[in-house]
Symmetry: C2
Subunit: 267 residues, 2 copies
């Protein structure tokens, strides 16, 4: 019986994969990838295939959730599922893993860097000071969930930072910009009005985390709603109470200081 | 002027480093490492040096905080600081980064896998369902902080999971075991008595995350206080309200089921 490997690619380019992960892909019989929960911004499929020296079959949501391919293959030979970010952050992968364990298929997880720890670190914010993470969904006609507002409210109430992830729809090639995200937060303020996300609220944005030049930005919600942060991926952080060193770092990314923008571009 | 690279080694073995990180180390003029905030369990310094093909100077706390070596070197040539886990999670590294930015030294951060995302993922718990992380410090004579209890209380109150990291003192070659940690939590219950960490409270433990056979365990606080989880590193999670799939995964690690222990050992 084969082994089922969940291998994280990291979150920006194919070279973010761990050395161990690359070795295991090279030795595998079947290599699949799942890119609908998230995908690498910095590498195309053919770059990934060339770098890993393997043909990679990209699975649709149905194929991953249907499990057939993966489980058949792992009964025949060592099988890899490549995913962006840490491989176990997505529920789909967990349900697949449960099913594999039930069938007695040995599973191994190869971790990788993740936006969950990278974004706080890039901004100089301590991981211990974050509350619950939230995600902004692209609003549909009658669909405008305001739960992110409540999560940010609870975190601020405890003096904690909030990591705000932005909607990704790889099938529609859509990823929400920080500008859109901040406008949504402002709309939620208008709707709920507890006064936590006013135009003066100071916000941090990371664009292109993991790239050679991530853009690190700090300014008011108002400024952010009028800023073009460039190509994806974007993430937003609503800082809570800051340790002086956290504040010192954020100030270096203050929007209206070109000096610090230059520095941030060099990050 | 040289570049200052903060490169994450991942959290278990030297092969957890990203391919990009390894390439940058190979091309660097000076390679330093900081192992007092945390270190790799699965690789010795000489294994790291052999694998990276570089001499690695391990810096003391004073040397890193004094900044002299790093900043001098990065003025002369490309300099790497290797760290376990994601390189920006430790405050010491952030203060060094701030100082480098002030002096106009270009800084680049190479992310890696981190216990902060790996432990939730290994246990099948959704990263969105975690509240604030806490750390258990080794109690000294007159020093028994109970802030972790309050953090766990607040998280449970919101239905959130808590990642509980355990004290590491690399200088004294001490890392707290989950057994010790759970006993501390039980002592805090005795002291504060809000009834959240009774002997019946169900707890999850991960031992040797990132190794070929991480040990994944789920059971009551009472059982955990009597369990030997083997070699370090250990981490504890206090689950809050669980989605049915999260519960399903945790049940697979239930202490008294040898079947699932075998599976967990294969993870």
């Amino acid at each position: 019986m084969g082994m089922l490997y969940f291998i994280g690619l990291g979150f920006y380019s194919v070279k973010d994969i761990s050395v161990r992960g690359k070795e295991l892909v090279e030795g595998a019989d079947y290599v699949f990838a799942e890119f609908y929960t998230s995908r690498l911004q910095g590498s195309t499929l053919s770059e990934i295939e060339e770098f890993l020296g393997k043909q990679v079959k990209v699975l649709s949501r149905e194929e991953v959730e249907g499990e057939r391919i993966l489980l058949e293959s792992s009964a025949k030979g060592d099988t890899v599922l490549l995913t962006a970010g840490d491989p176990m952050s997505a529920t789909t992968h967990q349900s697949l893993r449960i099913e594999a364990m039930r069938r007695g298929i040995p599973v191994r997880i190869i971790h990788s860097s993740s936006i969950f720890t990278a974004v706080p670190g890039l901004l100089g914010l301590q991981p211990y000071k974050f509350g619950r993470t939230t995600t902004l969904a692209r609003p549909e006609k009658d669909y405008f969930p305001t739960s992110p507002y409540d999560i940010i409210f609870n975190n601020l109430d405890q003096g904690l930072h909030t990591l705000v992830l932005l909607d990704i729809r790889t099938d529609r090639d859509y990823s929400m910009t920080a500008t859109e995200g901040l406008r949504l937060l402002s709309r939620m303020e208008g709707k709920i009005g507890k006064g936590i996300l006013t135009r003066e609220r100071e916000i941090a944005v990371v664009a292109r985390a993991g790239s050679e030049e991530p853009f690190l930005w700090y300014g008011t919600l108002k400024e952010g709603m009028e800023t073009d942060f460039g190509p994806p991926l974007h993430s937003v952080v609503v800082p809570g109470g800051c340790h002086f060193m956290e504040k010192e770092m954020l100030e270096m990314f203050r929007s209206h200081s070109t000096k610090t923008i230059n520095i941030s571009l060099k990050m």
